[in-house]
Symmetry: D2
Subunit: 362 residues, 4 copies
């Protein structure tokens, strides 16, 4: 249980006592994180390790096998060693699994999801493999889909919009961080048929590039830099458009992402040309109604900087009508690694296993 | 309960439910934070608001009266509005207080502590007013002491070293962040009589300068800067020396602090000339023995970057013997706002009120 | 000549020799910087001090009088002490002035410009006071204009667009950094009548907030933050619209600014709905033609991160057609303190005094 | 001459005109940079490209062959394409070379230096291969030396200490950035026989790790981190000790390096136990005398933050006597990529070719 990196001390167990005691409840759902070496998987593992309602039983990876996760990510407390993901892990009747978070790249995820499903495990998949309803759209952006037959099982894991489907789903496709921020920002307008045209300019910290070691993440290159990327070609565009369409809004979204020099944080600035004039009061009511009662979406009265949502599962929105241009502006602030990825995965697990939705993430 | 900054929604109460429900237990100790508008007081308030074992009943400030703390610090969830600290607050029999965290500057703190004591409230004081046992030393560095008669009531709040006195103390003088990092690093050597001479080079993020708006905190001046400050004249030196003396080590400490461009994080690098040769194995045992069983001090096998302890109450230490010079090197990593200040204050409150020591901060 | 901050040494004069030798040429235009204590004025002073073709004879300020500028900004080499700006400075026949850079806030600038004009001094004004051709527009955004009668003397100092007027102007209104980036990005499309609608999302580093000490500039608040500001109400909008109108394009511009955690750097991302379909080849030619021969505007083949233009007078542009939405995207990268403010002021002085345009700033 | 990355425009040549015109003088020494793809080589190339007194005729690399350097480093203006370093480059009688800056890793550098020497080219070598006078010491830290016979030709390139030898040297071993900062800080004390013991705690920005893509340079790992490294085992220690010994000071140096989250900047904080009491006045005179007349070493009256020396060839020193401990403190601030590496290489070339020492770097 102790990281090989620390000297033996009773401190470690003491700490474990202070935290959640996985499995202490006996009946807690047993969960693994597959692909825990990346930023998203590691944070999901950490959140589940601390979660009082789940038992994290294993973390897997294609590299770093044998090393405790807390050694790879010394900020985290998960003492479990990285295992290889293989059959025994999820088919051993003595180690029955209830759920898995899969944090693999697209195309690599689907076969693993399929194997887990065959073993009866419910999955939250962080990749793009099950996010799009349209196979055709998927294959245009990502190439051949490894397991198209599973698409219909999947619920889209934007909790606030698809809570009911998520509750009973066997596969939950956790949204991308950009679609999470954008769709939460635009949903009230989309539902009301108010979007004639929309430009989304989204800014994100460097953690959005993941544990990749390259020119985009080197501090001496990413620091003091503002870098738009994937110009006119972002894979998240169809995901956003499909979600808006499900709300009754068929629109071509101009989506652009930009890297800025911070670690975690994402701001989607949305510039909507409305189908008719929209006033401040109407906007206020529209957003208040849409998110009243939501534990993790907050409608603010001034622009919420991303620091406000840092290391939380909250998404904060601010909507304004521009009297000069007639456009509607919506700003959506969240932490790309939390609500944008890993804590939303836990929010979905809470919904899937009928836990209080905020348990372990508030 | 709702921040005036947010639109009315049932979301807010929903969130409150998910968190600690202050006072729900009825019997939880009632605590206030005096001086909650600064970084340290605000974080202490946030930690106590989320703490399952305390009821945060008020936050006070000399400015910003009437504004919810969550508006001043939008990352935090404390919905309480800033109040003025006056008699009724702590002498109203209908609002009995058990404890207070006082986050005032030195000299301003002591009279407030005195008033709180008169009302029977137990205090954790974050200022320097009660840290030094020697009145003479205090007055040399800080000027006349406003309430010298209270000095003898005070326990020094470095939890790991003075746990017993803290448990029964009426005033706990929370240590400075530099002394916390330094004394934890040096204590095992000090106790063993191994320190002949010591240089401490401590680096800290900008939050250490507090909510001061000046050339040291402006991002365009503090960014891309490494700035040693208070050369040959740091007030924390006597605090460190007094603590080492209590461990039997009389030594003049060369202490130097340096600001580096990050938010939270502190590294005390200690270069000890030992009184006799000390080998790696002896060092290992010395530190393992010293901190075995400690929930919040971890002895590492490699240097712990400050990112490892970010936003936690942990202090991580690494000790090494330098074969070339014969010196002993000890590196001490912690978060200056957490273990260095506010979460250590909560750790002390836990000890004072016989709560599990890690409750609310692990 | 030596900063009072350094110990006396012949080093200082040695350095001065190595740099530009102000006045060495005898015939160099004599220039002052009024308001040299802020970021913009200080950089203008530094650039002029190093400039081989101008003689910087004084720097003035309303505070810090008597302190050498190199003490206030230790990165800079200007040894001149801050003086008060008063009559003798610019009316002394023994100290005749040819030019002044005025770096005052709006409304404070105009009277100073008027006094300098009365003494026959040619002025580059960094404030907003003379940027707008329409007095009405000025007064709607800034209040009463202190010297409206001077408006007609002023040339708009976006060098690339108004080079001829600048050459002979007595007052040059240096553009705001946002209008510089935006108008350079949009001018080719505006002239060609291709802009039906446009959204400009501009990001900027913290130096854009100037030497203000507040919540927007404190590293522990501005760090790890992405903060849109002045939502639906940015004073730079009319300046941009007026410039586009002068190019024949009447359009309401949706302009939004966002602070990101770096020091110097600005990216204006422009999303244009064109009046007709525009292809990649047409765009390429449009921009190549527009900026062929320009020393400081470069048309790039990929998105230029702001690091590419850091501490230079260059503006780099990248234009792309989005096949999905039909929109035209233009990204404009510059350093807000350099091309956005102070080095463009020097570029204008070069033009005004018939120096090579790149002298001292390339 | 034009970067393939830019669209064709006459702007590029315009810019080249505005800059130094390499070879314009006909008689300028012809220089190459070998290994121009790394941070140090690229900056050396940029400085030489802008230098009025040298003609940069080629840049070489083991990768990226054929790409213009200005494409690899878009901030830089060098339009030359990366070439392979092979015989023809330096033995072609039609392309005679006068000098080379070699920016290779240790052990890889020496054979290249040898080949260049055989062709009669004078070399500034940025690697460790010729820094140490003692072959034995070199081999203890770096392994077998590839060209030990060349060691005696090499001058140690700390300009201020070895100007005369550098002037006539055929090989100049450019110092490491840590030794540059440290030896300049300690030299006056070393010469005066005042150092009994010394601890050097040096902090550096991430560019010090070079263009390496790994956990130490990823912004999401290096950001918000303070990370001591190579504990009790830094290769720069023997280099510092050898230089101090040449000044008559035999001492074992306790040297420790720490990475902090900025790009360029280095602070060496030196804690000296003096051989006898040293007062403030004596210190002041010692340092004033030592560096009087030096163009690039400045003795300051307060601690110089590294921002003061950012992107310059200056080293700023501040020395203080600590009345409490009796120790002498010296703080040394420079830019690790400039005075610490590449601009010092140009300073050395200036000395080697009898140019004004500050030409091209002030």
């Amino acid at each position: 249980m102790t990281s090989s990196r620390r000297w033996p001390s009773s401190g470690a167990s003491c700490v474990a006592d202070a935290h959640s005691q996985p499995g202490a409840g006996g009946g807690s759902p047993r969960v693994i994180v597959a692909g825990a070496t990346g930023f998203a998987g590691a944070l999901a593992a950490e959140l589940l390790w601390r979660h009082p309602g789940f038992e994290l039983v294993a973390v897997t990876g294609r590299s770093e096998v044998g090393r405790p996760l807390s050694e790879l990510y010394p900020r985290y407390r998960v003492p479990l060693a990285i295992e290889q993901l293989d059959d025994p892990l999820f088919s051993d009747p003595d180690r029955p699994l209830d759920a898995a978070v899969v944090a693999y790249p697209h195309a690599a995820a689907a076969p693993t999801v399929a194997a887990l499903r065959q073993a009866g495990v419910r999955v939250v998949d962080l990749s793009a493999d099950f996010r799009l309803g349209s196979l055709e759209t998927y294959e245009r952006w990502y190439g051949p889909h490894p397991r198209p037959e599973l698409l219909e099982q999947a619920a889209y894991g934007l909790t606030e919009l698809h809570r009911e489907q998520i509750a009973s789903a066997t596969i939950v496709a956790n949204p991308g961080c950009y679609p999470t921020a954008t769709v939460l920002a635009l949903a009230p307008l989309a539902r009301a048929g108010l979007i004639a045209d929309v430009v989304v300019d989204a800014k994100q910290g460097i953690s959005g590039a993941g544990r990749a070691f390259d020119e985009q993440t080197h501090l001496s290159m990413a620091g003091e830099n503002i870098l738009p990327y994937k110009v006119a070609a972002h894979r998240h565009t169809p995901e956003i458009e499909e979600q808006l369409a499900r709300l009754g809004c068929e629109v071509k979204v101009q989506f652009q992402a930009t890297l800025v020099p911070l670690d975690q944080g994402e701001m989607a600035s949305c510039y909507v040309t409305p189908t008719r004039e929209v006033g401040a009061e109407e906007l206020r009511e529209l957003y208040a109604d849409a998110y009243s009662g939501e534990p993790f979406v907050e409608v603010a009265e001034t622009v919420p900087g991303t620091r406000e949502t840092l290391a939380t599962n909250y998404c904060r929105l601010f909507a304004a009508a521009d009297g000069h241009t007639g456009k509607v502006l919506v700003f959506s602030s969240l932490d790309n690694l939390w609500k944008g990825t890993s804590s939303q995965a836990v929010q979905n697990l809470n919904v899937m296993f009928a836990k209080p939705e905020a348990e372990g993430i508030a």
